[in-house]
């Protein structure tokens, strides 16, 4: 059986207006339908720019200089508008607060915002809102003012607003970085549920333990270039990882120092379960 590629990026290059350095430099990769991809790398490595390029904000919102090709769900981003791309791919940003449209008075209406913009039929709209309220565990809050939610709830609302538009892919750019552990956990659980529903997930994240736990594949980015794109075990086992400003999960760090490897694969543990297996004396 041939697995469908939901994202195909070929030789993507991009430079922001009024800058001289390429923010993205010759990036090529593809993602299978339903995969969970983690993106890691240090600040300003180009992670956010790549996310913006996948949804079309680069180049449609920012302009600048663009080369190569990004195809999502069969649609080439460059030849489509951001609004049109919204049916195929959505994005969630860092700050939960800025993603509240501020035009709606209840969580229920807030989710409808995107659907109204796309001119959706009301019966379908109500069906979809009920579905995402349930999927993201927001049903009890449906009549609340969006600004009265906690950070974690707001971020789940942002995801709900995107998922209601039924994209094949959702991109999350450090969605938990401004949340406390409880809020982060809520968001991770929600993302996991989406993944189970078959949504392709691309997630930038600093919490490596979480990436190791959830992602099928991890991409390492440095100075606008893609360094590696592999399984979490292989990627975090790289001995040169620290050179790219990335610290692996704490379990991997310990295992590296103690040289504890899985004998069959020759790789270090990345999750607590793997660590427990390898470290028991």
């Amino acid at each position: 059986m041939v697995v469908k590629k939901t994202i195909v990026v070929e030789n993507l290059k991009y430079r922001y207006p009024n800058t001289s350095k390429l923010a993205l430099d010759s990036i090529s990769f593809s993602v299978d339908e339903g995969q969970f991809v983690g993106i890691v790398g240090k600040n300003l490595a180009g992670k956010s720019t790549l996310c913006e390029a996948l949804v079309g904000l680069v180049p449609h919102f920012y302009k600048g200089a663009y080369g190569g090709k990004v195809v999502v769900d069969g649609v080439e981003v460059l030849n489509s508008s951001i609004g049109e791309m919204a049916r195929h791919i959505g994005i969630v940003f860092q700050n939960p607060f800025t993603q509240i449209t501020a035009a709606k008075l209840t969580v229920y209406e807030e989710i409808a915002f995107g659907l109204e913009n796309l001119g959706m039929d009301r019966v379908e709209m109500v069906k979809r809102i009920d579905y995402v309220l349930d999927l993201l565990g927001l049903y009890d809050f449906k009549d609340r003012n969006p600004f009265e939610l906690s950070g974690g709830q707001m971020q789940r609302l942002a995801i709900a607003g995107i998922i209601a538009m039924k994209p094949t892919v959702i991109v999350l750019d450090e969605p938990t970085s401004q949340l406390d552990p409880q809020g982060s956990e809520e968001v991770f659980k929600a993302v996991q549920r989406l993944s189970k529903e078959g949504v392709t997930i691309v997630m930038v994240e600093q919490k490596m333990e979480k990436i190791a736990q959830y992602a099928d594949k991890v991409m390492l980015i440095s100075e606008g270039k893609m360094i590696d794109f592999d399984s979490p075990q292989k990627l975090f086992s790289r001995e040169d990882l620290e050179n790219f400003g990335v610290e692996p999960p704490v379990f991997t760090t310990i295992a590296k120092k103690l040289n504890v490897k899985d004998e069959t694969t020759g790789l270090y543990p990345v999750t607590i379960d793997e660590a427990r297996r390898l470290f028991s004396l």
Partner: protein, 258 residues
């Protein structure tokens, strides 16, 4: 927690259910009619009376008083200043403590009072009995660009959010030794460190919010739909016609009479 700004009072009378356009027409009528049909004061007073009765009926009359507060103070000072000093003052009306009030000035002040109350009460009827979001949606349906509708509704929600940051900014700057009390110069100097962070962060946030809107199809071309679509009732339509025709007749009458 701060909510959306609004003076709306939920009392579930017929006024709350009335289409906002009817109330807008009423405001237009109450401002224009006194000018179109003379005598000004009689027509103005009639509108004030109608507005008061409607506000009473809508169970929001008590909420009008705080709205009148500021205007009321000026109106009193107008009565005093015009009554005492207006240039066309000729006929003394009465004298208190050696200060003579004149008829002309008092009459002029009376006219101004009617004008202000007329406008104020008509607007009060709108703002006290209409949810701002309903007003905006109603305007959008009648052709206001939905993008401008967005600006209005988001302003109503963003402002309380921004105001709620005021406390933490005060705390943060006082923690760095900023004095917010003392002589005028000290207090004036404290203004920029306080407003600065609000301006910077709110402007910085515009970029991400703009992107978040874009990816939810904000600029999508094509017809929008509404989650809640309230149809105008027959009564709304009748009232809209009646008020419209009334306005038209008075304009015609005015033109013919001149």
């Amino acid at each position: 927690m701060a909510r959306a700004l609004s003076l709306y009072v939920e009392t579930n009378t017929f006024l709350q259910k009335l289409d906002p356009m009817v109330k807008l027409l009423y405001i237009l009528l109450s401002i224009l009619l006194p000018f179109l049909i003379l005598p000004y004061r009689v027509v103005g007073l009639t509108f004030i009376l109608i507005s008061c009765l409607l506000l009473l009926y809508g169970k929001v009359f008590k909420k009008v008083l705080p709205l009148l507060g500021f205007s009321f103070l000026i109106l009193i000072s107008i009565v005093i200043i015009q009554g005492l000093f207006m240039q066309s003052n000729r006929t003394p009306a009465f004298t208190i403590d050696g200060l003579t009030f004149y008829k002309e000035g008092l009459l002029y002040a009376w006219t101004l009072c009617i004008r202000v109350l007329d406008v104020l009460l008509a607007f009060a009827l709108l703002v006290l009995t209409t949810r701002p979001s309903d007003l905006i949606q109603s305007l959008v349906k009648r052709g206001l660009s939905p993008r401008f509708g967005y600006v209005l509704s988001s302003a109503l929600q963003i402002i309380p959010q921004m105001m709620s940051e005021v406390g933490s900014i005060m705390d943060a700057q006082r923690s760095r030794g900023l004095e917010t009390e003392g002589n005028l110069w000290t207090r004036l100097k404290a203004f920029v460190p306080l407003i600065g962070p609000v301006v910077m962060s709110s402007l910085l946030e515009t970029r991400e919010r703009a992107m978040a809107l874009e990816v939810r199809g904000f600029s999508a071309i094509g017809k929008k739909t509404f989650l809640f679509d309230t149809e105008m009732t027959l009564l709304d339509k009748i009232l809209e016609w009646v008020l419209g025709i009334l306005l038209l007749i008075s304009i015609i009458v005015r033109i013919v009479w001149l």
